[in-house]
Symmetry: C2
Subunit: 227 residues, 2 copies
């Protein structure tokens, strides 16, 4: 069993720590779209100077989690549903298909073992009804696919997308109910990876991502912003 513990922020740079903290606050819903982020306030809250905070804000801006303009306040970004459905998800699909296509040889036993243990944890989370944990494990599953390809640039694009997906998800948690289907889907993916042809995998993957992400993209009942 392997555990991904990403704690020990002690040895990270301040910039990284600030960045993670704010990022978490956003994707966990403590900071909502439109909320203001003031450098001085954050710096006092964390007892550090404004320098690292400014750099962390640049990072977050690059991730698409916040927006800022010169000499004006910086705020948490909005996420549009159409953007998620018709842009982020197709791009996400491209990323994963790319990683699958070019790293066939790297799918070894260790790799499958890791995926398998992630799925096991998903089962536990689903049984416990722990939606948040399940989502994180879902993300880990797909991130593990991407990590096959040793490209920091791919992980960079992925970060931006997945964070925005999380932001969108935060708004729709209540309707996300069929937890066990998520687990079954990923079991099927894992099984296909081990047994099926590239074409079948690609087809299954495509269907899964459109399907799965639809779970995160319910029609939020009345949110019909006409523009």
């Amino acid at each position: 069993m392997d555990t991904f513990h990403f704690k020990s922020q002690e040895n990270l740079s301040l910039r990284q720590r600030v960045m993670n903290d704010i990022r978490n606050a956003i994707i966990q819903g403590h900071l909502k779209p439109g909320d203001k982020l003031k450098e001085l306030e954050i710096s006092q809250q964390m007892s550090i100077s404004r320098g690292p905070i400014r750099e962390a804000l640049r990072d977050l801006e690059a991730l698409g989690l916040i927006v800022s303009s010169p000499y004006r306040e910086t705020t948490v970004a909005e996420v549009r549903k159409e953007e998620v459905v018709d842009l982020l998800i197709p791009i996400r699909l491209q990323l994963e298909l790319f990683a699958l296509k070019y790293n066939l040889a790297k799918r070894d036993e260790v790799f499958f073992g890791n995926l398998s243990s992630i799925v096991e944890r998903m089962k536990v989370s689903a049984t416990n009804g722990d939606l948040f944990a399940l989502v994180e494990e879902d993300i880990q599953f797909h991130e593990h696919i991407l990590s096959l390809d040793n490209s920091s640039y791919i992980m960079q694009i992925w970060s931006g997308i997945v964070n925005r997906l999380r932001m969108h998800f935060i708004k729709n948690t209540s309707k996300f109910t069929d937890l066990h289907k998520v687990v079954e889907d990923h079991e099927a993916l894992l099984n296909a990876l081990q047994n099926d042809s590239a074409e079948k995998i690609e087809a299954l993957w495509t269907r899964h991502i459109k399907d799965e992400d639809c779970l995160l993209c319910f029609d939020d009942e009345s949110e019909q912003g006409s523009d």
Copy 2:
């Protein structure tokens, strides 16, 4: 070491100016993949402090133009050809199809007029054999499509992609010869936008982007890295 001097960006913040300067140096080939970027050196060269430079470097890192690790030197990023062909270009296609799909109503006369004038300039550049200008106009054409959708996030993804495409292009300029075909292609695109159905436009667009970007992605003769 060659020195570059840039035009007046007087009203931009220093961070923006540094960012633009370095970005241009990279996509124009003055800085090549692997070259080191030292904060102190840049700050002395530009007669400013290291603060804005550090923030600009964060921006450039987010764009995928440079890479850095803590306390280590930061260098100009590498671009892999497979990444360009099988990832960046499909994503680019998704971006444009998205913008086209959701902004049908915004394609007014002004919009077509702008596209048309871009194409006119392309003709001039093609006739002059000015490859660099042609590429920039090509980019403007497609950027104009994306700007239909009023999303800063889309432009953000686009920036990262287009800069990396430019980096890749820099390596292959010599073989890029059929300038007038580029112009004709864009004329066809413009014509289709004005006259054809959404389906036909989508099909043409898809073909064009795969086609056009192939121009930028020649098999660089012997660069067969076996991995």
